[in-house]
Every structure is written in structure tokens, then in C-alpha cells.
């Protein structure tokens, strides 16, 4: 956190603005409300069932009961779901970025008939709500015999990740100077090596932003996994949590421990790579 020089003073003024101080206090109160659900979940995850039912709901746990975590881990089969989620994410995210970047390079740097039409067709995909297509996706994946397989979810995940990534990277590649690829082409370099040696190294910032956004999206995805991964040995974390909730909803401490364990990885990634989230989101949505 960087300390702010001269807080509460509007630009060009030396006086403390009381309106800003009031605004700040309001924001602090709202922030406390915003964070309350997290605290409530963490507190409950450290309480025994009798404490949950006996004592005040927002009292911090006086003697934390860490056994909820171990119990929820075993009963919720977290070792299986974490493993499945991790494999799917680790395969899908880099692979998706690679094929999106390749496509974005072609669409921004190689001229051919139909390039514009293909670009529009892909960008159109950013707006398709896949939640509407769960049944035909099931039919399709079932047709390939891939129900209950990791590949069966990875392929649709790839398909629905491509549009936004191509859109953002296309915008970025187009801003790079034309001479960059032209000079290399004259020197006899192929498009493969221009893409690999020049464009990829230059586009690390947008790639990092997209990587983080896609990690979180893939880690959190629920609806497609729900129709494709039906056998509980293939479940991902969100499916495991949903099932935990329906089976053990009266084991309050364990249920909340399960919630904490489910959201923790994405939260940690968010805290470490915070600034990339903002740049990744605004790259697509807001052009200066």
C-alpha cells in the first residue's frame, strides 16, 4: 500500500475537505458490511455445532475448532475435487491462451479474405451465454463419448474462453508497430518465429492479465461441469461444494470450512495478482 500524499485535499487545494472526510467514513462503514460475510463464514468454520446453535452468530470463536477443516476435507472428498480442478485448470488455461494468441496474431497481422468476418464471428462469442446451451453441450460431448472425462470439460472451456482472449490480444497486437513484423518478414523469418520470438515476449502484460482472469473463471466454473461431470470421482471443487451443501447442510462448522477451502485458492491468487485483474478487465471493456 502506498501512502497517499496530502489525503482529503482536493486537487489544487491545501485545505482538508470535510466532505471528503465524511465520504471516507461512509466508505469504511460500507467496507465493513462488504467484508462481514467473509468474517461470518470464517468464524462459523471454527465453531462446533453446539456453539453455532447456542451462542451469538457474529461472536468470534473463543476456542477455535480446527477439526472442522479436516472433517470437511475427508467427507467432501476434497483430495479428489482439488486434484480434478487443478488438472483441468493447469491444462486448460495455458493451452487456451496459446491458441487464442496464435489466432489473434493471424487476425491482426496476416491479410487474407474473410479475416474481418472470422474476427467478428469470434468476437460475437463473447456475448453468447453458454448457460443457455447446457443441453446441446451435453449432447455434443456425449456424442464424442467424453462424458465424465476431463477432456470433455476442457474442450468447451477452451471454446468459450477463446472469444474474449482473442478480442483483447487482437486489440493489443494491432497497436504494435507494423515495422516489427515487416522487417522480420523481409529478413526471411516465418510467421511462426515472428509470433514466437517477437510477439509473445512483447505481450507478456496482457497475457499475464488474461492468465489470471482465466484461472479464476476456470477454477470457479460450475454449470458446464454440472452437466458433463456426472460421476462423483470426476467432480471439480464447485461441484463438490454443491454436493456437500445438499448432504451436510446441518453441519454448520464443516459446511463453512468447506466454503473457505473452496474459495481460498482463488482468493490467494487474487491477492497476489490484484493489479492484473483490473488491467485484464479494462483492456477488453474500456478503451481510452
Amino acid at each position: 500500500m502506498t501512502a497517499l500524499a496530502n489525503p482529503f485535499r482536493p486537487a489544487g487545494s491545501d485545505r482538508i475537505d470535510p466532505v471528503l472526510v465524511a465520504l471516507w467514513l461512509v466508505l469504511i462503514v460500507v467496507a465493513a458490511l462488504w467484508i462481514a460475510p467473509f468474517l461470518f463464514i470464517i468464524f462459523t468454520s471454527l465453531k462446533t455445532n453446539s456453539t453455532v446453535m447456542g451462542a451469538s452468530a457474529f461472536a468470534p470463536p473463543t476456542n477455535p475448532d480446527w477439526t472442522n477443516y479436516a472433517a470437511a476435507w475427508t467427507r467432501g472428498k476434497f483430495s479428489t475435487t482439488v486434484f480434478n480442478s487443478a488438472v483441468i485448470t493447469v491444462v486448460k488455461v495455458p493451452l487456451g491462451l496459446a491458441i487464442s494468441a496464435m489466432a489473434a496474431y493471424v487476425l491482426s497481422r496476416i491479410e487474407f479474405r474473410g479475416a474481418r468476418a472470422i474476427f467478428l464471428l469470434i468476437v460475437f462469442g463473447t456475448m453468447i451465454p453458454f448457460q443457455v446451451l447446457l443441453a446441446p453441450l451435453f449432447t455434443l460431448v456425449n456424442g464424442f463419448g467424453l462424458i465424465n472425462t476431463k477432456l470433455g470439460v476442457i474442450l468447451p472451456y477452451l471454446a468459450f474462453g477463446i472469444p474474449y482472449q482473442v478480442f483483447v490480444l487482437h486489440g493489443f497486437f494491432k497497436e504494435l508497430p507494423r515495422e516489427l513484423s515487416e522487417a522480420a518478414l523481409i529478413d526471411g523469418a516465418s510467421h511462426f518465429s515472428i509470433f514466437w520470438r517477437i510477439f509473445l515476449p512483447l505481450s507478456l502484460p496482457p497475457l499475464a492479465a488474461l492468465l489470471i482472469l482465466d484461472f479464476v473463471a476456470t477454477w470457479n466454473e460450475f454449470a458446464m461441469a454440472l452437466v458433463i461431470l456426472q460421476d462423483n470421482s470426476t467432480w471439480t471443487l464447485p461441484l463438490g461444494l454443491m454436493s456437500f451443501q445438499s448432504q451436510f447442510s446441518r453441519d454448520y462448522g464443516q459446511l463453512n470450512a468447506a466454503i473457505v477451502m473452496t474459495v481460498l485458492p482463488a482468493t490467494i491468487v487474487y491477492m497476489i495478482f490484484q493489479r492484473y485483474f483490473v488491467s485484464g478487465l479494462t483492456a477488453g471493456a474500456v478503451k481510452e
Partner: protein, 296 residues
């Protein structure tokens, strides 16, 4: 080898993986859902029967749940266009000022966005627990026992209870877009208006708001599209209940196909929702592309 030295085949090779995966797993299901909506099919066996428009007739005329879902989706969409963007805008305005801790505060308000919607659903279901949940505990300790509700069990309030959780999850998204929009408003312009004697309110209304118009459009469109997608949070909190009081079109299409085994009707509902989405998206894309050309 000569062939591969020219641009076209190299381009094709680089483009092919994305195009094939996208075509097969995103575009094809979208076309297939239209075909399926004219069939009677249980999704598993081979016997698909062409039934013309009878699935559409079925959902529009004979299925009261469809209209409940339609109405709920409409209410949800209107609420989603108004509240999360308003909250996000207010937060962005505040956090754009010179106040202490503004970076950690921004991070905090954005945090719910990155949490799995299904986890948000589970969290809020627990907070809404009628006996031991946070809400009723707070109301009791404030002496407001009269307001206590079975938040998710009472059909009259359930939809709004779910929506409050959705505001908590999505407001940070609008906030980030608005913050970026606010920061792109030229400092020189704001400065100049101040020197010309405009007060803070005039600067806000006449300089910053007009410059924010594209951001506002984008936030509203994205909020609309996201609201039509509402699935996880409803599925996780109420499953569409009680008595279909929180049923939504996307969820009802899923339920018809995957749980009731009627892929024809499920697909017909999907097509209706797709058409609504396209009616919003296509004009927006045209606007966005025109704007992109102008900027260039």
C-alpha cells in the same frame, strides 16, 4: 517446403486450433439447439422425432412455469441493470478521491467478484438460515424480530434475497469499469473547468459524466448480458424454488432437458433466451464497432 514459406498456409495453421474448437464447441451447439427445439427427444436414445413448432406451443401455451421464469428473468434483469451499476458507480466515485487506504478498499470491494458463484450461493444460503443465520441474528439483536423472514423459503421474498447476494457479488465489477472510465477522463479538462470557476458539482455533471458515457453503455450492456446468464447463484441458493418462485429461463431450460428429459422443450426455452440476448447484443456490437472505427 516452398508452400509453407508463404503467409497464407502459416496463418491457417496458427488460426486453425482456435477456429476448430470454437466452431465445434461454441457455434455448433448454438445451431444445434435450434434444430433440437423442433424435435421430440429424451437426449439419450436414437429416436428423434420432428414435431414442428409443438415445443414452442408447449412452452408458450401449456407451461405456466415458463411464464414464471420469464417474469423472474425480466425482474432480475431490470434489477441487475439498476442496482449493481449504481452501487458500483457510487463506490467508484468515492474511491476515485484522494482518501487514505483507497487501494486496499478497491481490492476489498472487488473481492466477491472472484469467488465462485456457487460458493457465494452457499455462503448466502447459510447467512439466510432462518434459525442460526447472520441476518436473523442481526435483526434479533437490533430488536427487529418482526422483520425476521425465512428469506429463501418464502416465495414472496426469495427472488429478492437471491438478488441481494448477486449485488454483493457483482457491484465490484461495475466499480472497476467505472474507475477505469473515471481515470480516463482527461485531468487537463477537469483542471481547466475548475480554473474557469466551475464548482465540484458542475465539473462532475458537465465534464466527467459526458466523458463517461461509453463506460456507462458498456457497464449496462455487460450487466444485461450477465443477468440473462444467471444460473449458478440461483441453482445453488434455491434451485428455482420455493414452488418455482425463483425459477429463471436459463435454469428452466436446463431443468427441462437435463432433469425432466425433454430436450425439445428445453431447447425451445434456450432459443427464446438466445433470441432475447441477440436482440440486445447485435445492436451493441454494431455500436461498439462503429465506435472503434471512429477512434482509429
Amino acid at each position: 517446403m516452398k508452400f509453407w514459406r508463404s503467409a497464407q498456409p502459416q496463418g491457417l495453421l496458427l488460426l486453425a486450433p482456435a477456429l476448430i474448437v470454437y466452431g465445434v464447441f461454441a457455434l455448433y451447439p448454438m445451431l444445434n439447439v435450434v434444430v433440437l427445439s423442433f424435435m421430440r427427444w429424451n437426449g439419450l436414445t436414437a429416436d428423434k422425432v420432428f414435431v414442428g413448432l409443438s415445443n414452442y406451443a408447449g412452452i408458450l401455451a401449456l407451461d405456466p412455469v415458463f411464464w414464471t421464469a420469464f417474469r423472474n428473468t425480466a425482474i432480475w434483469t431490470v434489477l441487475s441493470i439498476v442496482f449493481p451499476p449504481l452501487v458500483g458507480f457510487a463506490l467508484a466515485l468515492g474511491l476515485d478521491q484522494k482518501i487514505p487506504w483507497r487501494t486496499p478498499l478497491r481490492a476489498l470491494f472487488y473481492m466477491p467478484v472472484i469467488i465462485a458463484p456457487i460458493a457465494v450461493a452457499t455462503m448466502w444460503r447459510w447467512m439466510y438460515d432462518p434459525f442460526f443465520g447472520l441476518f436473523n441474528a442481526v435483526l434479533t439483536s437490533l430488536g427487529l424480530q418482526g422483520v425476521i423472514q425465512d428469506w429463501l423459503g418464502d416465495g414472496a421474498v426469495a427472488l429478492y434475497s437471491v438478488f441481494v447476494a448477486s449485488v454483493w457479488q457483482t457491484a465490484g465489477f461495475s466499480m472497476v469499469l467505472f474507475l477505469a472510465g473515471l481515470q480516463s477522463v482527461s485531468k487537463a479538462l477537469v483542471e481547466a473547468s475548475r480554473i474557469d470557476g466551475a464548482n465540484a458539482w458542475q465539473t462532475f455533471w458537465h465534464v466527467r459524466t459526458p466523458a463517461l458515457r461509453p463506460t456507462i453503455t458498456i457497464v449496462l450492456i455487460l450487466s444485461t448480458i450477465n443477468s440473462l446468464k444467471a444460473f449458478d447463484i440461483v441453482y445453488g441458493m434455491t434451485g428455482g424454488g420455493p414452488a418455482q418462485a425463483t425459477q429463471m429461463l436459463a435454469l428452466w431450460a436446463f431443468t427441462q432437458s437435463m432433469q425432466l428429459g425433454d430436450f425439445g422443450r428445453g431447447s425451445a426455452i434456450s432459443v427464446v433466451l438466445l433470441l432475447i440476448t441477440l436482440a440486445i447484443v447485435i445492436p451493441y456490437l454494431q455500436w461498439a464497432l462503429r465506435r472503434e472505427e471512429r477512434v482509429r
